[in-house]
């Protein structure tokens, strides 16, 4: 389990210090205070590869494809928003520690010494009698990911531009435990994800807990959940007693689909981290209490750690039954922004439980 994360110059955080992280970490705060950026910091600290960083762009809905060939300005624009105040002269640095005080670190910066000369892509038309002009090549420094994993093994990966203008992302193992990131439903949610996860659970014969949870909380007539691919693409289907055919779960409810995916992730990512942005999305307020209870139970049973953000007061108040007697498993991370930089304040579970009970506005 991750106990602490320290980051500098990442997104809206000049400096981010998270400590005493617990099994279930609830992230609150107004819009644009850094809730999602906090989750991205955790994802990056545990991932540490160019693909992880690039994937966050796509999750946020930007840069569906890398333009190729690419200019220096174009290449830098892919990454500029990750640097605090858009200033890449200060490296992004992160240090993440687990329960046993093993650390994983990463430093991300433009490595000017490894700049690549990229040929100009557009040579303007010239008059026939004039010699062709010699255009300067563009020198594009790669983005270096200088990393050290929890076992102390160091490596450096690069996101770089090749001489012809193509972009290359070095691949490599992630630094820490397996991470799953559920973006807000306002952004991209992969509809195949619930099917993939449920399929993995079925292979391990562990899907019953999910089926029971859906039946108990949403649909008493649920007979089965199955991954089927009638059209070629896999999808999760629900068999209901009153329907003559099985129904794609997304047709039944997008919320149930997300519920299944979240619980499945917590079951599957044992010893890992599940990041859930805006956990309340698509879920009825009546399900919030059981959702937290399932998340806590599955997380404890599988040694999974959860970071879940919410804007919903009902969702926060629904924490109470799950928290009572398990206060130490929870913490509240409240994102706030002052003087242009975001900061996180931490409220231990024992205070959080009392505060919610007393009706304090904790968000």
């Amino acid at each position: 389990m991750i106990r602490s994360l320290h980051a500098e110059n990442f997104r809206c955080f000049k400096k981010l210090d998270l400590y005493d992280l617990q099994r279930v970490n609830v992230v609150v705060g107004k819009n644009a205070t850094g809730k999602t950026a906090l989750m991205e910091a955790m994802r990056l600290a545990l991932g540490g590869t160019p693909n992880v960083l690039w994937g966050m762009n796509q999750t946020r809905g930007f840069f569906a494809n890398v333009p190729q060939p690419i200019t220096r300005e174009g290449f830098e624009s892919l990454w500029s928003a990750y640097f605090f105040n858009f200033d890449p002269s200060e490296a992004i640095s992160m240090d993440c520690a687990d329960n046993e005080d093993h650390h994983a670190t990463i430093r991300i910066f433009y490595d000017a010494q490894r700049s690549v000369a990229v040929m100009p892509q557009h040579i303007p038309q010239q008059q026939p009698q004039q010699p062709p002009p010699v255009l300067p090549s563009s020198f594009i420094p790669p983005l270096a990911f200088q990393r050290c994993n929890f076992s102390g093994e160091s490596s450096t990966l690069y996101a770089s531009v090749q001489a012809q203008g193509g972009v290359n992302f070095d691949s490599g193992p992630e630094l820490g435990p397996v991470t799953e990131f559920f973006p807000s439903s306002a952004w991209n949610f992969n509809p195949i994800l619930p099917a993939q996860m449920f399929s993995q659970l079925s292979l391990q014969k562990r899907e019953k807990a999910i089926v029971d949870a859906v039946r108990d909380e949403f649909e008493p007539s649920l007979e089965s959940l199955l991954v089927l691919s009638p059209s070629g693409a896999p999808g999760l289907y629900a068999g209901l007693r009153y329907l003559k055919e099985k129904l794609p779960i997304g047709y039944l409810s997008a919320g149930i689909s997300r519920f299944v995916a979240m619980l499945s992730a917590v079951l599957l990512r044992g010893k890992g981290v599940v990041l859930i942005d805006e956990i309340e999305n698509g879920i009825s307020y009546k399900i919030f209490q059981p959702l937290w209870k399932y998340l806590l139970k599955f997380a404890v049973d599988n040694d999974t750690q959860i970071f879940a953000s919410t804007h919903s007061l009902e969702c926060v108040r629904a924490l109470l039954p799950a928290m009572q007697g398990h206060e130490r498993e929870f913490t509240l991370l409240r994102a706030e922004r002052t003087n242009g930089s975001s900061a996180i304040t931490l409220v231990p579970g024992r205070f959080l439980e009392s505060a919610i009970d007393q009706g304090v506005e904790v968000r």
Binding site: L346, S354, D357, V360
Partner: protein
């Protein structure tokens, strides 16, 4: 202006917080702050709609933890002190012990004894109503203030307590609450249902905030917040 914090405590606007046992105590403290021109204190009391069903001193540990949560907000003013105001009830030592335990549980420093402002830079104190060396409740103090202004009221309430049988059946603290309620209801003729908590809004409130009976607690609050 009121210094009473909303039930849904949000951020802390002032550097000193006065946590009271109930809303009646909170209203008295609020009136005192206004009367004395003290502007750096917030006042609040535990919620009566807690899911745990705890009220009064039993709810203090949760309420103190709630204050700890609110003080962590970036927009909260740095908290410099916490004063707890509660009834001494029948045993001031027990009342103080319960408050002290609550402070400990919520990781606040606890004073060694009541009526003592302790700690530096963060100060804590406990004031037990009706005042130092006494047992009883908020209502005892309020009644004293009403009787100083209109001594004949005491005989009147004694008669009322006798003829209704309350004098025989009620415990002293409950009897004081009944007498204060009866007095407030009788005086606040437009609001005969009013209580020690709501009477402060009524022009005919029988308890004068400038009563010398409030000098001790007023001076204590002034010292705490200075």
């Amino acid at each position: 202006m009121t210094f009473i914090q909303p039930q849904a405590l949000d951020f802390l606007p002032h550097p000193f917080f006065i946590a009271t046992e109930g809303i009646g105590d909170a209203r008295l403290i609020d009136e005192l702050l206004q009367f004395r021109g003290i502007t750096n204190c917030s006042v609040g009391c535990p919620s009566r709609i807690s899911s745990k069903g705890k009220t009064g001193k039993d709810a203090f540990p949760d309420y103190f933890a709630a204050i700890q949560t609110a003080r962590r907000r970036v927009d909260s003013t740095q908290l410099l002190g916490l004063l707890v105001v509660a009834d001494a009830d029948a045993n001031a030592g027990e009342a103080f012990g319960a408050i002290r335990t609550g402070l400990d549980q919520a990781a606040f420093p606890a004073p060694d004894k009541p009526f003592s402002i302790e700690g530096n830079p963060f100060r804590t104190a406990v004031y037990l109503l009706p005042g130092e060396g006494k047992t009883g409740t908020l209502e005892h103090l309020l009644l004293d203030a009403a009787f100083v202004k209109a001594p004949s009221l005491q005989d009147c309430l004694d008669d009322f307590s006798t003829c209704t049988g309350a004098l025989r059946s009620s415990k002293p603290n409950k009897l004081a609450k009944m007498r204060m309620s009866a007095l407030a209801a009788a005086f606040c003729e437009d609001n005969p249902w009013c209580s020690a908590h709501t009477m402060w809004s009524d022009d005919k409130n029988p308890v004068p905030i400038d009563s010398p009976c409030f000098n001790h607690i007023g001076d204590f609050v002034t010292r705490f917040a200075s």
